[in-house]
């Protein structure tokens, strides 16, 4: 409870800081909106011209796309401290300052910054989900809303986990962290489209190693009431977002190991 209270305090401090430059915040949010919605516009143009691909319609694609956008936007909003960890905390030595305060390091990093500009991607995701709903004439009953929220919880957990993992690597090297963007941004791009389009090895990677498929593809199939063309049983589909939470837990285990490495070497 007290941790949650502190987060609200961090949040209001971060917002006040950003509102010192309101123009910049608004422009960044608009930028996020337009740069991320362009992909789905392009997809729409292709579908309008060529029709369904392997049984997937534009509405289906938009649902995958929108769900992942919402998850990633929220995760990005929460984990800026982890995302910037190598450059802003390890290189500068500011992680020392974090350790000097009587709170868990992870809590302080979540509270480090909440970028309001992420609203741009969030708005894009919600609008695209709306488009998908209209295109598919989807009825949102309570079960579907619940499943969508659960999917987003799993997705947020997974993306936060990726950022925590990236931050953990900074305890060993701050030089080659861009490699991680393949997993975060590349992962977003990959998970925005249905897994069945990809080659087998890549699908397995997205299911078993970095389980992006479990926080988008499988549960969204359940929302769309579609059977899995890959053959996953229908009862399993709504359970898969749990994989995101497991991934997050494992990332935090690695993180704790990294912190203890830091306190023993000081770098």
């Amino acid at each position: 409870m007290t941790a949650l209270f502190l987060l609200t305090r961090y949040f209001s401090a971060s917002v006040r800081g950003q509102l010192q430059y309101p123009g910049s915040t608004i422009l960044l949010a608009a930028g996020q909106f337009f740069t991320t919605i362009i992909d789905i516009v392009a997809a729409w143009a292709l579908f309008a011209r060529f029709g369904p691909v392997q049984g997937w319609t534009f509405g289906d694609i938009a649902m995958f796309f929108g769900m992942i956008s919402v998850s990633f936007a929220i995760a990005d909003f929460l984990s800026r401290g982890f995302d910037m960890f190598g450059a802003h905390f390890i290189k500068t030595g500011d992680f020392d300052r974090v350790l000097l305060r009587p709170r868990s390091a992870a809590l302080q990093l979540i509270g480090y910054d909440f970028r309001l500009a992420r609203i741009g991607r969030l708005a894009q995701g919600l609008i695209v989900i709306g488009l998908a709903t209209a295109s598919l004439s989807l009825e949102w009953d309570a079960a579907k809303v619940g499943l969508a929220l659960w999917t987003i919880v799993g997705g947020v957990a997974l993306f936060v986990g990726l950022m925590v993992f990236q931050a953990t690597l900074a305890f060993w090297t701050v030089e080659s962290l861009e490699v991680m963007n393949v997993l975060t941004y590349g992962g977003v791009q990959a998970a925005q489209f249905p897994l069945s389009l990809y080659a087998g090895w890549f699908r397995n990677l997205l299911i078993f190693i970095v389980p992006l498929g479990c926080v988008a593809y499988f549960p969204v199939l359940a929302i769309l009431d579609k059977p899995d063309p890959l053959g996953a049983p229908a009862w399993l589909l709504p359970l898969t977002p749990a994989a995101g939470l497991i991934f997050l837990a494992v990332s935090f285990l690695a993180w704790r190991f990294g912190v203890s490495k830091y306190t023993s070497t000081g770098s």
Binding site: R97, P102, S104
Partner: protein
Amino acid sequence: MPQILVQDLAKTYRVAERDPGVLGALKGLVHRRWRTVEALKDVSFSLEAGELLGFIGPNGAGKSTTIKILSGILRPDSGRVEVGGLVPYQERIKHVARIGVVFGQRTQLWWDLPVIDGFDLLRDIYRIDPVCYARTRDELVALLRLERLLDQPVRQLSLGQRMRAEIAAALLHEPDVLFLDEPTIGLDAPSKLAVREFVKRLNRERGVTVLLTTHDMHDIEALAERVIVIGHGQVLADSPFEALRRDVLRERWLFIDFVDQAPEIDLPGVEVRARDGRSLELAFDPAVVGAPRLIAAITADYAVEDIHVEQPAIEEVIAKFYDLHGAAEA
């Protein structure tokens, strides 16, 4: 039981060595060569509650490593360390709630936030009781003359203003122990004086135990009765500053302007440091010949226009001390 206890502390770092250039960087990826650096070899000291200790030494001597271990950021390889009965690196969160730390080179505050908002955030981070917080904050604001800075974002403060705000920020939770790492670095003279004056009062009136590292010997002279000199990861001296002066460089200097050309002086315990026309600078050992006798002897034989005695500046004492111990930075 002393408040701070450090016994046989040792800490070694492994530093990756790399050949220069792109090829070197690539080679480093495949096969790393490590060099070990002994930051601390065998450091022991203890501090009673209410003491004010100056911690000095050349760059790379082990000051920062010691402060980091004491504040729970770093785990030593071996040795014992306790602050207020807690082992810092084992109970980090409990420990850091009871200490205050100020790094002269780094800000603890929030760059874009007004000072007062940063203070409020620290209240919630440290879980300070709101009533205690308001009282402590108002006291600190008055003592450090922060009234007019409270509404300004930290990034707009001058270095001296910021340092005063930093010190207040480190004390809001009323710690028993305060670590100051180069608190006066880069400050102008009035700010330095203000910081020194405040630290002194804090120590005398509140009984806060203070451990201070600095390269500014005037900090030491103004504040610390007790000084630890560290070099090559070892404690080279642990004594009152005056005792250090006596042991290292007890000579005094006599500056004389003669009416005529400066004469040759040949007295036991006296050396000529410099000579320039009618001026003469002598170094003498007060244990061999006292200042009154020396002055009397000179004024008896020669016509003198002006005369005064100086002590070597503290910098000179410390430089000589480093020199004697081969401790100067390589």
